[in-house]
């Protein structure tokens, strides 16, 4: 055992001395070598050869700076490292080193100062390890981490972009402004629904899907003043050439004529390199505001027109004209005729042929009692039909031809407002739309009602003015005629009394006989009674001018009435050299107001006597057909000129010139009032130089006209 143990020990002793050299010479993972005091390689081991590529023969004696990169050498790093190691005894770093073949590797380097036993400096030990692989792994790991981070960021970014794009999309879709985006080729790449609607499409998809030509063919593009807007000058197109601009643009849909007003802004979208990528157009529609402005302008204009004239028919026509095309495509004015039917006073439309079509329509199919117009008249309430549907048209046009024209007129929406005077409807004002595609709403109805109210006020004012003027004229005439009529009998009375007073004072009164006195006083009595009658007549007429005539009907004979009157006028006729012939057969009995009919015959006969200038007068009464009777008073006087024939039935009108003839000028007016109240008709036939015949036709019974009386 010992021997073996000794031998082993001896081996061990040998080996122990060699061990450091063995270590150095056999380690392949580390380059272990010595650098002499001058910085040159002094020893070399297999690890160094493996890592750096040089064999011992190739490298020993060469400067260790060979292992450094050019950059490190340039900055003096090899010496700096040795100086550090010398100063501190040790230097350690990781850094790039160069192999024999010029490739680089990542090295872990430890340089240690070598001192002998005496402590004298002998050089440096250098241990280098190739960490390129580790470094590569680290680097790969770092890159992988960075990539992961970048990918995560990219995902995050994409999500954010998607999110914000969705939000932007949502915003653009929900704003009321229209937004379109065009590519440099002028193709729409984005549009929101508002823009699509403005261009007459139902949805943004439909708009984007349509070709440019299709879009542009749908409407006319106009400037604010109505002139065509050149496409290249639209803000969106200008933006494609780099300009920002704003413009008022009117889009008129060709199919319907509907017009929309927009304030359009265009701006370019630039890429990073400054090239124009897109152009954005924003449309702010202000059609409603524009209409409101126009409406108020119309109201102001209409008010001026309404205040300018007292002729309300002309005024209403002007209002109808003014409404077109500002607030309506059509407007009509209807007024109530005395028979309660509505007569079209005016139709306004920009196109005269359409105006004629509307008149024709009205002539062929007058509105029925259940129609809107009559309902507005009955209720006094304005009506609005925002949307004229096919069903509405079909329901209101039983006649197929009528229906066809109704569709042709293309009504879209309408409003009817009443025209009323003193709370009584006298007509209607109608505003309609067709071509413009406009639909009226409650705001429009408020405006229309206000126009109706102002028009009504203007009519009322005009009427009040005319009536007041007429009343003043009537009163003046009445006073003039009344005073003249009263003065004549008053004069006779005054002359008689003043004459008697003078005669009494001078003692001459007693020279008159009792008979003469009695005769003159009787004449005075007649004057007084005549004055009384005159005052009654004046009061009667004054009363009838303002109030209805109330008839006191009874059974009476017109022949008898006429005969009485004729006998009363025989003397007067004889005075002017004429005579009255009375022609009748049997009694003509009817249900009339006796005293009023007496007035009728009296006035007609008195006129014949007065104006007949002594010519023959014929009075005849006859039973006519269908329950009517006719009274005719004919004279052979000078006749009445045609231009006076209607006028003479008016109050205070006489056919004769000036005031050469006394008379109230009320006779024929009263005749007509009385005859009309009886449901009859008075007419005249006159030939200049041949004479005049007045005819009164009366219904025999009141039953025939129960409704009127």
């Amino acid at each position: 055992m010992d021997r073996v143990g000794q031998a082993e020990d001896r081996d061990m002793e040998d080996d122990t001395a060699e061990l450091p050299a063995l270590l150095v010479n056999q380690i392949a993972d580390y380059a272990i070598f010595v650098i002499d005091k001058n910085g040159c390689i002094a020893t070399w081991n297999p690890g160094a050869q493996r890592i750096k590529g040089y064999s011992a023969a190739e490298i020993i004696g060469k400067p260790y700076s060979l292992f450094f990169t050019d950059e490190d050498r340039a900055v003096g790093k090899p010496n700096a490292i040795l100086s550090q190691a010398r100063a501190l005894g040790r230097y350690e770093e990781e850094g790039w080193r160069v192999r024999q073949d010029g490739t680089r590797f990542w090295a872990s380097v430890v340089v240690t100062e070598l001192l002998n036993r005496r402590g004298e400096f002998r050089g440096f030990a250098k241990i280098t390890r190739d960490l390129t692989r580790r470094r590569d792994l680290e680097e790969a790991e770092r890159v992988a981490a960075a990539e992961r981070a970048a990918r995560r960021q990219a995902e995050l970014d994409e999500w954010e972009v998607r999110q914000s794009r969705n939000q932007l999309d949502l915003v653009l879709r929900s704003i009321s402004e229209g937004v379109t985006v065009q590519s440099p080729e002028g193709k729409w790449v984005f549009a929101n629904d508002a823009a699509a609607r403005l261009c007459g499409f139902d949805s943004a998809e439909a708009f984007i899907g349509a070709s440019r030509e299709e879009v542009l063919s749908r409407f006319e593009i106009l400037r604010e003043d109505g002139s065509p807007f050149p496409l290249d000058e639209l803000p969106g197109r200008l933006a494609l050439r780099g300009g920002r601009s704003d413009a008022v643009v009117r889009f008129r849909t060709k199919l319907t004529g509907e017009e929309r007003w927009s304030f359009v802004s265009g701006a370019p979208v630039l890429c990073r390199d400054g090239k124009i990528e897109l152009s954005v157009s924003i449309f702010r529609e202000f059609t409603d505001r524009r209409r409101t402005e126009q409406a108020w302008q119309f109201l102001a204009d209409a008010s001026v027109v309404l205040g300018a004239s007292l002729d309300y028919q002309t005024t209403l026509k002007q209002v109808a004209e003014l409404a077109v095309p500002t607030i309506a495509d059509w407007s009509t004015v209807d007024v109530m005729a005395p028979d309660g039917s509505l007569q079209q006073l005016a139709v306004a439309h920009t196109d005269p042929s359409k105006r004629e079509l509307a008149k024709e329509w009205r002539r062929r199919w007058p509105p029925q009692p259940h129609a809107t117009l009559y309902r507005v008249i009955r209720t006094g309430m304005p009506e609005l039909v925002p949307e004229v549907t096919d069903a509405i048209i079909e329901a209101s046009t039983p006649d197929l031809e009528q229906r066809r024209i109704a569709f042709e007129l293309g009504l879209r929406s309408f409003m009817v407002v009443p025209l009323s005077v003193r709370k009584e409807a006298i007509g209607t004002l109608t505003f309609l739309t067709s071509e413009s595609g406009r639909r009226y709403g409650p705001q429009d109805l408020i405006l229309a009602t206000e126009i109706g109210r102002r028009a009504s006020l203007a009519i009322e004012n005009a009427r009040a003015y005319t009536e007041a003027r007429e009343a003043v004229r009537t009163r003046d005439n009445f006073l003039a005629i009344a005073s003249h009529e009263l003065r004549t009998p008053l004069s006779a009375l005054s002359v008689l009394i003043s004459s008697f007073v003078r005669a009494a004072e001078s003692g001459r009164l007693l020279t008159l006989s009792t008979d003469v006195l009695a005769e003159r006083l009787k004449r005075a009595e007649r004057q007084v009674s005549q004055l009384g009658t005159l005052v009654d007549r004046l009061l009667d007429i004054s009363h009838l001018s303002t109030q209805d005539l109330r008839l006191q009907r009874e059974e009476c004979d017109l022949v008898e009435i006429a005969r009485d009157v004729v006998s009363r006028f025989e003397d007067a006729a004889a005075d002017v050299g004429g005579r009255i012939e009375f022609k009748t057969a049997a009694p003509v009995v009817g249900w009339w107001d006796r005293s009023r009919l007496d007035q009728v015959v009296t006035n007609l006969v008195a006129n014949a006597v007065k104006y007949g200038q002594g010519a023959a007068i014929t009075v005849s009464v006859s039973s006519g057909s269908s329950g009517h009777v006719r009274l005719t008073v004919r004279d052979e006087g000078p006749g009445i000129p045609l231009e006076h024939q209607e006028r003479i039935f008016e109050q205070f009108e006489r056919a004769t010139t000036a005031e050469s003839l006394p008379g109230m000028g009320l006779g024929l007016w009263l005749v007509r009032r009385i005859v009309t109240a009886h449901g009859g008709v008075v007419s005249l036939e006159s030939v200049l130089g041949k004479g005049t015949a007045f005819s009164v036709v009366l219904p025999v019974s009141a039953q025939a006209l129960q409704g009127d009386s």
């Binding site: 003078r502 004449r523 004057q527 005549q530």
Partner: protein, 129 residues
Amino acid sequence: MKGAATPQEYILVVEDDKDLRATLCDALDLEGYVAICVENGEAALRHLASGARPCVILLDLMMPVMDGWTFRQEILKDPSLASIPVIVMSAAAPARVAAARAHAVLHKPLHMARVVGLVQKHCPDGASA
């Protein structure tokens, strides 16, 4: 009527209202004047055509057949009649009365003191009888 007046000393009354005409003539008679009364301008012209010359004419304006204005124009055209004084009796407006170019105007209703006062100027002898 008083037949004592000379033919030159009479008054011509032209008035269409029968009662006023008669009353006026009676009253003038009572004042001692001779009055001839006619009912319109035409009758008055016929009367004058006979060569008679009244000292004054009392003329109504509004009359049928021939009114006072026409009558006045007619006599102004005839030199032998133009100088006869004319007193207009009227209730018409002043401007229209002026158109008759009368020597004096009597406004209706008439009063005899005023009538006699004016007539006296032109017929000094009429009421003497």
